[in-house]
């Protein structure tokens, strides 16, 4: 009997000790796990924040790409349309100029063009070139310019004159075409502003 109770006591003691140890281990493991979880939480939050901010950055980048390219597409289409309009205005204006009546004030225009051209070359001893339509007008004015001679050769232009010095080294183009070409950027701007663009 005595030996049995001692045995039981020993077993109880061992069981209690083991139980205590197991409980302590469990408690430690619990707190370790809690600690690990607590530690990883800020890391997790950091990771989460990073993923979110990267996502925002990427979304922002894509938004900029889409908006940027569509804005440009729209603007470019507008530019092409405007240019089409400008071209139409130009061709209509050129048609009107080409078919202008050569009588009346037109001879004044030719005179102004000749005055300008001879002044720029610094001499009236020049050969004058013009188109078939303006030939008669030019011929009638030319007597006022000593030494000026009308070339038998005609040039292809809307109107106006082109002069060349006698030695052939200097030329000044004062045809309507050349003047339009010179002022084209300004004329384009004017036309564009009537379409409500360009200013």
């Amino acid at each position: 009997m005595t030996s049995n109770s001692s045995l039981e006591q020993a077993i109880d003691k061992i069981l209690k000790k083991t139980e205590k140890e197991i409980l302590l281990d469990l408690k430690n493991s619990g707190s370790d796990s809690k600690q690990t979880l607590d530690d990883s939480l800020p890391k997790l939050e950091q990771e989460y924040d990073k993923i979110i901010s990267d996502g925002y950055k990427e979304a922002d980048k894509i938004e900029k790409q889409i908006i940027g390219s569509s804005d440009l597409d729209v603007r470019n289409k507008k530019l092409l349309l405007l240019e089409e309009g400008v071209d139409k205005v130009f061709s209509k204006a050129l048609d009107q100029i080409a078919n202008t009546d050569r009588s009346g004030d037109y001879s004044n225009l030719i005179k102004t063009l000749l005055d300008e051209a001879t002044k720029i070359l610094g001499t009236t001893k020049v050969t004058v070139f013009t188109n078939t339509k303006d030939k008669d007008v030019v011929k009638s004015i030319l007597s006022k310019y000593s030494g000026a001679k009308l070339s038998s050769e005609t040039i292809d232009c809307l109107g106006g004159i082109k002069i060349k010095s006698k030695d052939g080294t200097m030329t000044f183009d004062n045809t309507i075409d050349a003047r339009i070409e010179r002022f084209k950027p300004l004329i384009r701007k004017e036309i564009a502003s009537t379409f409500g663009m360009g200013n």
Binding site: I67, R75, T169, P185, R188, G198
Partner: protein, 461 residues
């Protein structure tokens, strides 16, 4: 635009390299625009370099190949070269002479501006002090760019300066302000593939909308390169001082510009200076670089990042040498880092932004910026010394603190310097990495930062 000029001269005395000498010329003016017409009716542009004794020397931008004395004529236009400018130039691509290259018509001009610009009144200049974020850590953190500054990038052949240029153009912004920001990009004598890369890169990132591109490719006549930076800067000045935008001008490669200048100088038989470049190279470069700045009472600014490749990586070569005299610091691309595969391979120990101190700190970046940047400079410099020492005595011979500095050097190169080409870091992220590097050092090694910042940002490992 006036009717003055327009006289066409057909007496060509000589064609020499990129120059045409016209005889019996009256009334031509220095820098006057000239239209050269060939036998076949082809027109090329040029400008008057010299007039006198009835002769005019004309520099032909598109080269003189195919021109002959007989049959060629020169029309003196009566005005200097002008660039049509308006807000519509944004989002457009032009060639090196400012002509549209994107298949669209000429922009409707708000005004026509002389490409030589108007010199800024020194009295009216405002000191540059506002931060521009490039999104590239090494630039923003250690050699900060400020509005109105001219900060060149010195590179070498084959290195990644063009990638860096495109990244700056895509990412640059003014932080925290609603001010309009624009990028003017001038590619001077670059390869076709590079020009395409610049264009695609800006298009795909959506940055083209706020950019203007001037592309002069390597196969374009060299003489055009003289004009490209000038038309680009003319547009930049208009956007900045007429429209109030903050404009970043990236010009690559200025070495090609200088080569073109040398070509003309040689053709004019001028007395050559160092390495055959003209003696006026410094003056000429200053007419480009000095177009950066801010003006009192005007809202906008022009900031320049010229990029030049140093022949044989020689920083004493006349081009980087003279550039360095004019600009406010330099960013040097290092061959060693490039070979190690580091991007962007910027050698911080040879680089410097002289205006950085005025563009950083409280109110612009962060109060601790200057101190943490100084500490990292110092630590990286020490790391380089330790690396050299380790090369002799081996790692085993190094002290514990030496090893920490080596570690700092590695982290600096791997985490701070190295960046993806599409990675746009905010200034906070950049400063965060700088503190990560500083935190590798024991506190007693941190001598350049105030305690209050150490307490706030130092993270002991």
């Amino acid at each position: 635009m006036t009717l003055e000029g327009g006289v066409q001269y057909s007496k060509i005395a000589e064609i020499k390299g990129p120059l045409v000498v016209v005889d019996d010329v009256d009334n031509a003016a220095f820098d006057e625009l000239v239209e050269i017409e060939t036998n076949e009716g082809e027109r090329r542009l040029g400008k008057v370099l010299e007039v006198g004794n009835g002769k005019a020397i004309v520099q032909v931008f598109e080269g003189t190949t195919g021109l002959s004395i007989a049959g060629t004529s020169a029309k003196f236009v009566g005005k200097v070269m002008e660039m049509p400018v308006s807000k519509e130039v944004l989002g457009r691509v032009f060639d090196g002479l400012g002509r549209p290259k994107d298949g669209l018509p000429d922009p409707i001009a708000d005004k026509f501006v002389d490409i030589n610009g108007e010199p800024m009144n020194p009295e009216q200049r405002e000191y540059p002090k506002d931060f521009i974020q490039t999104g590239i850590s090494v630039i923003d953190g250690l050699m900060t760019l400020v509005r109105g500054q001219k900060l060149p990038i010195f590179s070498g052949s084959g290195m990644s300066h063009n990638l860096l240029a495109a990244q700056i153009a895509r990412q640059a912004s003014v932080v925290g302000k609603q001010d309009d920001f624009a990028v003017v990009f001038a590619a001077i004598g670059v390869q076709y593939s590079e020009a395409e890369y610049f264009r695609r890169s800006l298009e795909e990132s959506g940055a083209l909308k706020r950019s203007v591109l001037f592309l002069n490719t390597a196969d374009d006549p060299a003489i055009e390169r003289i004009i490209t930076p000038r038309v680009a800067l003319t547009v930049a000045e208009y956007l900045a001082f007429d429209l109030g935008m903050h404009v970043l001008v990236v010009m690559t490669d200025m070495t090609n510009y200088c080569e073109a200048l040398r070509e003309i100088s040689a053709a004019r038989e001028e007395v050559p200076g160092r390495k055959g470049y003209p003696g006026y190279l410094y003056t000429d470069l200053s007419t480009i670089y000095e177009r950066a700045g801010k003006l009192q009472g005007r809202k906008g600014s022009v900031t320049q990042v010229p990029i030049l490749s140093m022949p044989s990586d020689d920083i004493t070569h006349p081009i980087p040498d003279l550039t360095g005299y004019i600009t406010e610091g330099q960013i040097v691309i290092g061959r060693d880092l490039f070979r190690q595969g580091v991007y962007p391979p910027i050698n911080i120990l040879m680089s410097l932004s002289r205006l950085m101190k005025d563009g950083i700190g409280e109110g612009s970046t962060r109060a601790d910026h200057s101190e943490v940047a100084n500490q990292v400079y110092d630590a990286y410099s020490r790391a380089q010394e330790v690396r050299a020492l380790a090369g002799i005595v081996g790692k085993a011979g190094l002290t514990e603190i030496d090893l920490k500095y080596m570690d700092v050097g590695d982290v600096f190169e791997k985490e701070f310097l190295t960046q993806a080409i599409d990675e746009n870091r905010t200034i906070e992220e950049t400063l965060g990495i700088l503190w990560k590097i500083v935190s590798k050092l024991p506190k007693n090694e941190i001598t350049k930062i105030k305690d209050k910042y150490i307490d706030q940002y130092y993270k002991e490992e």
